[in-house]
């Protein structure tokens, strides 16, 4: 799909909307959400591999943003601020996953690969699509498994740089670190991935 629903009125300056939202104007906040929510969903979907988990991250991120927009002091761009909120939620998700893996119920599929049973629970929520999640998981499973070998931060840096095209400088800002650190993390992540994927061929 190319253009997405509701990418309208992008002409309105974000800073105007932010100030309005800070005054309690909910419609302004909702318009602000529309400027960013596709990117947020895209990131959460790709990182978690699941529509319904992506929706949870989406919900939490924007609620958090709404509650604390009053504390936003324009010290960075709103874009960076939102990405920071989402990234932190994604990091939490990644950390939970590593913990859960230890005692999650596991089964084996037709090709002999093991997978978390929890990941296969169908979700009746509107918009979530379990069949698509499944397909996605099977196609990219080799890559997914390689990505899981990275630490949460390595995964995040790689995700933001490689899959979402953020400049390393922005990646640094989003993760509250320097561009240099982000660069080194990217190198490490890439080396690990190349190693992991070479094994798996």
């Amino acid at each position: 799909m190319g253009h997405m629903a509701g990418q309208s009125l992008g002409r309105i300056d974000d800073s105007l909307l932010v100030r309005e939202a800070q005054r309690g104007n909910r419609a302004a906040f909702e318009e602000l959400v529309r400027h960013y929510d596709q990117a947020v969903l895209r990131l959460a979907m790709h990182l978690t591999g699941s529509d319904h988990e992506a929706q949870d991250i989406y919900q939490e991120a924007f609620l958090k943003a709404y509650k604390s927009v009053g504390n936003f002091r324009f010290e960075c761009s709103f874009y960076t601020w939102i990405y920071r909120i989402v990234t932190n939620l994604c990091l939490d998700h990644l950390r939970k996953r590593t913990v859960r893996k230890e005692d999650a119920p596991v089964a084996t599929d037709a090709s002999g690969e093991s997978y978390d049973l929890i990941d296969r629970v169908p979700d009746a929520r509107s918009g979530a699509n379990p069949e698509r999640d499944l397909m996605r998981r099977e196609l990219g499973s080799r890559i997914s498994r390689a990505l899981q070998r990275l630490t949460p931060r390595e995964r995040m840096v790689f995700e933001l740089k490689h899959y979402h095209g953020l400049k390393l400088r922005t990646v640094g800002e989003v993760l509250n670190t320097t561009e240099e650190t982000a660069k080194n993390t990217l190198f490490r992540a890439t080396q690990k991935l190349r190693g992991a994927l070479a094994d798996m061929r």
């Binding site: 909702e30 790709h46 709404y66 990219g140 890559i143």
Partner: protein
């Protein structure tokens, strides 16, 4: 030595993160060094492998569902620190006031009317000697807000304030000024009759992308269903050509509070009903919509859809 540097920077090069001079040097080296060129090839191949896990766009269905869920939650969530963000920021104001006898004679009484305006009143014995003021007091009703108060040498005070004035303009629908004001009216006016009139006039020019955006905005946000219906009518013809229009009509079908608007949206989507995102929504409505007319219409449409290949 050079190869080492190049190999370290190939990754950055592939991600387009090298500054121009470094990139130039690297490219020069690659042209002469087969070892490094092979390394670049390997790096690019690795990139290709990674696209086995492509980034997908969220479907309109998922996006709309997420937005709806968020909207519901926002209705019951309060913001923090809201009082600090009313139009007049007290802490900034205190910083600007310097203590001086002239200022001591000026007492500001502010009414917090939710950001509509700040009333200004001067109390005390001696009023400060302010130069460059128009003769006579400023009519309170025309004060839009106080911007700043600073003390000047010689016991003077300087106050900046905004004033509101009503103006009128004439022109044809093609005038840029008229267009601009119509767009503003469609979105901002409290009077729904006025919003309806402006949407009406705007509908005559839906080729303009700003106008389309305003119509989409009206469809999504206007509280008056009549205005939303008008916006729908204006957008209907563009459902096939413009994906944004299609998606906003789809959204109206899924979540508008007014059944008349939803039904109209359903009919307007007819030319694009075979689109996958529309199809998904139709199927869902056919299964479980509360409105019996919409449910049966959706069922009919689904039945007529060609098989997915």
């Amino acid at each position: 030595m050079k190869c080492e540097w190049v190999q370290e920077n190939i990754l950055l090069h592939v991600y387009n993160e090298l500054p121009d001079d470094a990139r130039y040097e690297l490219e020069q080296h690659l042209a002469r060094c087969s070892g490094c060129a092979a390394e670049l090839k390997a790096a690019r191949k690795f990139h290709a492998v990674l696209s086995d896990l492509p980034v997908e766009e969220p479907t309109p269905n998922l996006l709309a569902a997420s937005r709806m869920r968020l909207q519901e939650a926002l209705e019951t969530t309060a913001q923090n620190g809201m009082w600090r963000r009313l139009m007049f920021d007290p802490s900034a104001w205190f910083q600007q006031i310097r203590f001086s006898p002239a200022l001591a004679a000026v007492i500001l009484v502010m009414g917090f009317t939710g950001g509509v305006g700040v009333t200004y009143k001067a109390l005390g014995g001696k009023s400060p000697d302010i130069t460059a003021l128009p003769a006579g007091p400023v009519a309170e009703a025309s004060i839009g807000g106080i911007r700043s108060i600073t003390s000047q040498p010689g016991n003077q005070v300087s106050i900046k304030y905004d004033s509101i004035s009503t103006q009128e303009t004439h022109g044809s629908l093609n005038d840029q000024r008229i267009q601009q004001l119509l767009l503003f009216a469609a979105r901002n006016n409290y009077n729904s009759g006025l919003r309806m009139d402006s949407v009406d006039l705007l509908m005559q020019q839906p080729n303009d992308t700003h106008v389309r955006e305003a119509l989409i905005y009206a469809l999504r946000y206007d509280s008056n269903p009549g205005v939303r219906l008008k916006a729908l009518a204006g957008l209907g013809g563009y459902v096939k050509d413009d994906v944004r229009v299609r998606d906003s009509v789809l959204e109206a079908l899924m979540q508008d509070s007014n059944p008349g608007v939803r039904i109209q949206a359903l009919h307007l989507l007819d030319p694009v009903r075979a689109d996958s995102s529309v199809r998904v929504v139709l199927q869902k409505l056919a299964e479980s919509d509360q409105n019996p007319y919409i449910k049966s219409q959706a069922r009919l449409e689904v039945a007529q859809l060609p098989e997915i290949d």
